[in-house]
Amino acid sequence: MSGALGKDLLGLEHLSSDQIRLILDTAEPFKEISERAIKKVPTLRGSTIVNLFFEASTRTRVSFEFAQKRLSADTVNVAAAGSSVSKGETLVDTARNLEAMRIDMVVIRHGASGAAQFLAERIESNVINAGDGTHEHPTQGLLDMLTLRDHFKRLDGLKVCICGDVLHSRVARSNIWGLLKMGATVGVCGPRSLLPNAIDQFGVTVFEHIEDAIQWADALNILRLQLERMQGGYIPSLREYNRVFGVSSERLARAPKDLLILHPGPMNRGVEIDSDVADGPHSVILNQVTNGVAVRMAVLYLLSGGKPELAEAAKGGGGR
C-alpha cells in the first residue's frame, strides 16, 4: 500500500488537514539534505519517474527533477513538443507506453483541468499533479504553506490574501483549499473580471481594493498576471493593472504591520509586483523556491514504495 496519502497527489481540495500537515512536517527534515555537500540520499534508488510536461515549465520541472535526483530516483523528462504527443497520441496511450517500460511514478503537467486525475484512474503508477489547467497545483500550494509556516510558526488564524488573476490560477485554488483546511483565513483581491463568478462559494473574503487587502492581511501571495489576459480583454492594460492592483512599497508602507510577500513566479516586475517589493526585506520569494524542492521530496517519499509482496519476502529482517 502507498501510505497515508494514498496512490496519488492530485490536489489539496480532497486532502485532510492531517494529510497536509504530514506533508509539511515531512518536508522539514528534507530541507537539510539540500544543505549537505553531497545532496543525495539513497531513498528512491531503483525507482523510475517520468516527468510528463504538456505545458512549458522551467521552475516546477527543475524543482521536481532536483527533488527526484536528491532522492536517487532515475528520471526521464518528456516534453509535449517533440514527443508522440504532437503526433496525436492520446494522454493515456503515452502513459501506458511509459508504464510498459516499468516506471513507478508520473509527474504530470497538462493544460486540461482534471488531466492528472484522468491519468491516475487509468495507470498503476503513482501520479503527482504538477498543474492541470486552471484546477490545481498542489505542490505549489504546499510550498507556499510551508514558507508561511516557516515564518509565522503557524497557519491557524493567519490572514493570507491571494492577489491577481484568481480566475485562471491553479495556484490560487490549491492555496485557498489548503489554507482554509489548515485554519487560515483567506482573502482574494483582483479585478472582478479575473475572479471566478462563484468566488463567494470558496469561503474567502473578497477585497476590491488592494489597499484594503494590505490593511487586512498578514501575508500577500501575489499571482503572476498572465500577459495574454490583456488580449483576452480581462484587463485594459498592464499599466492600468499596475496602477490599481500593483503591490508597491508605497502601498505596503501604509499597512499597520510588515506583510510577508510571496509570489509563485515567474514575476512580471512592474506589473503585479514592483521590484523593490520583490527584492525587499519581507519577500520570501526565493525561500519559496528552496522550499519547493523539500516539499516535492516529501511528496515523492510519502507516495513511494511499500510494496506488499516484497514485505512478505523480507519478513524476519528489519529491526535494530
Partner: protein, 180 residues
Amino acid sequence: MPDRQHIVLDARAMDRTLRRMADEIVELNEGTDDLIIVGIQRRGVQLAARIVSSINDRENVEVPSGALDITLYRDDLQTVGPRPVVGPTDLPWAIDGKHVVIVDDVLYTGRTIRAALDELADFGRPRRIALAVLIDRGGRELPIQPDVIGKTVDVGPGQRVDVLVKELDDRDAVIIAETE
C-alpha cells in the same frame, strides 16, 4: 501490550552506565582530540547528549555532537508502509579526518548502524568510526559489533527492549517487555 516487564537498568544504574561509557569513549579515543559524538534518532540522540555532557565535565572540553536520522537510508523502505517518519539530521561539523563515535540505544540486527555508516559516508570521510550502544541484545544480521557497550542482555524472540529517556518518556529506564 507489555504483559510482563522486567527492569534491566533503573535511572541511577542508567546514569552510572552512561558515565562509564563516556569514560570508555575517551579512553578508546586516547583523549578528546578530533572526537565527534553522533546520536541516532530517536533515543540515541538523548543518550549521546548525556555522554557528551559527562565528557565535557570530566575533561573540561566542548566535544562537538550531532544527530543522525537514518530513515532515508533504511534497507527496507521498499517493503514497509506507511512511510516511516523522518526525523531531523543535524551534523554541522566537518567530519573528515575526525573520530566519530555513533551512539544508539539498542543494538539488535545491526541494520540501523549499516544505514548510519552509509549516511556518514555522505557527510565525509572520518578517520575512524566507533560504535557505542547502551544495550546489546544480540541477534545480529550483519557483521557489525560495538566498541563500547553499556550492558549486554539476553532477550528472547518474543521480547522487546525499551530504552526510556526522561526527555521523551518522563523517566530513565531500560525495560524488557513481552510482546505478543
